[in-house]
Symmetry: C2
Subunit: 200 residues, 2 copies
């Protein structure tokens, strides 16, 4: 096999992997991740289950990839906001309202995805740790910027980011969002204001 053929083969493999994840994500939203089988995913893609197993050793691995993609989308939105111009306080506000909106869609409107991420939390999947760590870094980047501009008081941006992220956990944690839905107060707006006040 020539180099260009090998490259093309690799690209095809990556593409198939993505298609499996996208299809699994769609079926999980429609039927729930517990009811969806590897055979269902293969059938949707017009391939054999054996072919799916070439890419993912088990359904657990597919679940993990779907979860990683879901959280990756939230991270990408956070990164885009961190890179914007303007006051750090405004970017933090945009970040937490965006995370809350994306998670509300996924975890309360699309209850079936909620179940997947709730399982991930229970099983302490590495993806959840990775997500929290990376989102902390995005938040720290905005806070460091605010400290440099004199918008926030000087300090350790990483530690401040972990505190702010934790203070707002009720608006990003899939299970808490469902559990706390009946508590009207504090609103997300009030909590963001409270959290930003702690940084000034």
């Amino acid at each position: 096999m020539k180099v260009s053929d090998a490259t093309r083969a690799e690209a095809r493999e990556a593409d198939t992997r993505t298609r499996i994840i996208t299809t699994a994500d769609r079926l999980y939203r429609q039927m729930g991740f517990q009811k969806t089988t590897v055979a269902d995913i293969a059938r949707e893609l017009g391939m054999s289950p054996a072919n799916v197993y070439r890419f993912f050793r088990s359904k657990d691995e597919i679940n993990e990839a779907v979860g990683r993609q879901l959280l990756g989308e939230v991270l990408a939105a956070g990164l885009e906001i961190a890179g914007r111009d303007g006051p750090a306080a405004e970017r933090l506000h945009a970040l937490f309202t965006t995370v809350e909106r994306m998670n509300t869609e996924r975890f309360t409107v699309e209850k079936k995805l909620h179940d997947l991420v709730a399982l991930a939390l229970t099983e302490n999947w590495q993806i959840v740790f990775d997500y929290v760590e990376r989102m902390d870094a995005v938040i720290a980047r905005i806070i460091a910027d605010g400290m440099n501009r004199g918008e926030f008081r000087a300090g350790d941006p990483q530690q401040a980011a972990r505190c702010l992220h934790t203070a707002l956990i009720r608006y990003s944690h899939p299970r808490l969002m469902v559990e706390c839905a009946e508590f009207e107060d504090p609103t997300l707006e009030q909590m963001i204001k409270f959290g930003i006040a702690a940084l000034r």
Copy 2:
């Protein structure tokens, strides 16, 4: 029946009710609340199950009474702290460290009680709402005091209390305490400091 007899009978009834709750609490800690039957509780007390049912219509009602007592103990500790002299910031620090310590004992050391309160949270028992509302009021009392002393900036103490309580949910919510145990940061100390900074 004379009045004094009626009073004595009432006192005896209240006493029996308390003994049922205390015994249920002990058995729940030993065997777990799901495995404990009303017959087990009655046997421990040397009474018939029918007598237990005179006081509680179902095991659900006993669960609720045990849960209410557990949370009532935390509230009582909070009230005692709110009534102390000294800076409001110190009392808030004492309150949140006490709540965290009591809940760690109950929900992580005594895993079996954790299951009971986790169920209460899932089923949205009124006791959880009552507890949050009453603890918010205890925290608001300390914050109002701090605002009056000029320790904290002026504002709505009730709203500030709800924000502070929510910001620290990771250290009082039974399920989060278990889930987040592997995240070392932020520490409770860091979070209390962060929350109090938001009030200044």
